[in-house]
């Protein structure tokens, strides 16, 4: 299943709040440490973790910065 879902986080909108990290039941999201143009720490997908495509991260993200790509199988 690994790799089936791609979590695309738009650094243009992300405000680094960490809600997606806290929300993901599979610990898929991690801080990137990099700073966006607005100064925020934007999360990235930890490819070693298994994303189930549950979209909880997308739903919780207040800034609509997350897109979960790939279909659930």
């Amino acid at each position: 299943m690994r790799g089936t879902f791609k979590i695309v986080i738009d650094a243009k909108w992300c405000k680094g709040c960490g809600l997606c990290l806290a929300e993901c039941p599979k610990d898929v999201l991690q801080w990137s440490g990099a700073r966006s143009a607005k100064g925020y720490n934007v999360p990235v997908q930890d490819e070693t973790k298994v994303c189930t495509g549950c979209r909880l991260c997308e739903l919780i993200c207040p800034d609509q910065a997350i897109r979960v790509e790939g279909e659930r199988q």
Binding site: K15, R35, A37, K38, G39
Partner: protein, 199 residues
């Protein structure tokens, strides 16, 4: 002599507190005339934050910054936005070199201090980057005495954060680099009280 100082960066970096401390140091401690203003409201959220301090020995009538003598830039967009308002002749820029990488053309002398890096790595508290910047300012220009800044921090920051802020102040004073600096002299922290929103 009128000096116009601008502190600018992202909301949440404690830009306002830095300006307030500077104003207290110059005004309440050193007894000079000061006028401190700031940007407010939604535009101060997440986006740009700005705090201006005008310092003078005479009554300050016009309270706003027209052409800053000193710019403390804590973000790339802040530098880009306010570089144009700088006094090219006698101005100086202090940048948080953790966050500001590109320097536009035609800047007056630039001083660098990795304020955010110092705050995060040495103090485990990003919010004291503002104090690092202030410490740097005291070294870069004589607009305010370093001792006055220390006293202002001690008087205006909650007791439990005092030492942290003083230490950060000191690190800024020590760590800043740039053209023609004299040797350094002597450190401190509080969570900034950002501006209230707008409406």
């Amino acid at each position: 002599m009128r000096k116009e100082v601008r502190v600018a960066g992202f909301g949440g970096q404690g830009v306002i507190l830095a300006g307030v401390i500077l104003a207290q140091a110059s005004g309440a401690i050193e007894g000079r005339e000061v006028a401190q203003t700031q940007s407010y409201g939604p535009e101060a959220r997440g986006g740009a934050a700005r705090c201006d301090v005008v310092i003078s020995d005479k009554r300050i009538l016009y309270p706003k910054v027209r052409q800053a003598d000193l710019l403390l830039a804590m973000s790339q967009p802040a530098l880009a936005k306010y570089a144009v308002d700088l006094d090219a002749a006698k101005g100086k820029v202090v940048i948080d070199s953790t966050l500001v990488n590109e320097l536009p053309d035609g800047l007056p002398p630039v001083y660098r201090v990795p304020a955010t890096k110092i705050a995060e790595e040495e103090f485990k508290n990003r919010i004291v980057a503002n104090m690092v910047m202030l410490g740097a300012l005291a070294r870069v220009d004589d607009v305010v005495a370093y001792d006055s800044l220390k006293r202002a921090v001690a008087e205006n920051v909650a007791p439990k954060f005092r030492d942290l802020n003083l230490a950060a102040l000191d690190r800024g004073y020590q760590a800043v680099e740039g053209p023609g600096l004299r040797p350094a002299a002597g450190a401190n922290d509080a969570p900034g009280a950002p501006a209230s929103g707008g409406r």
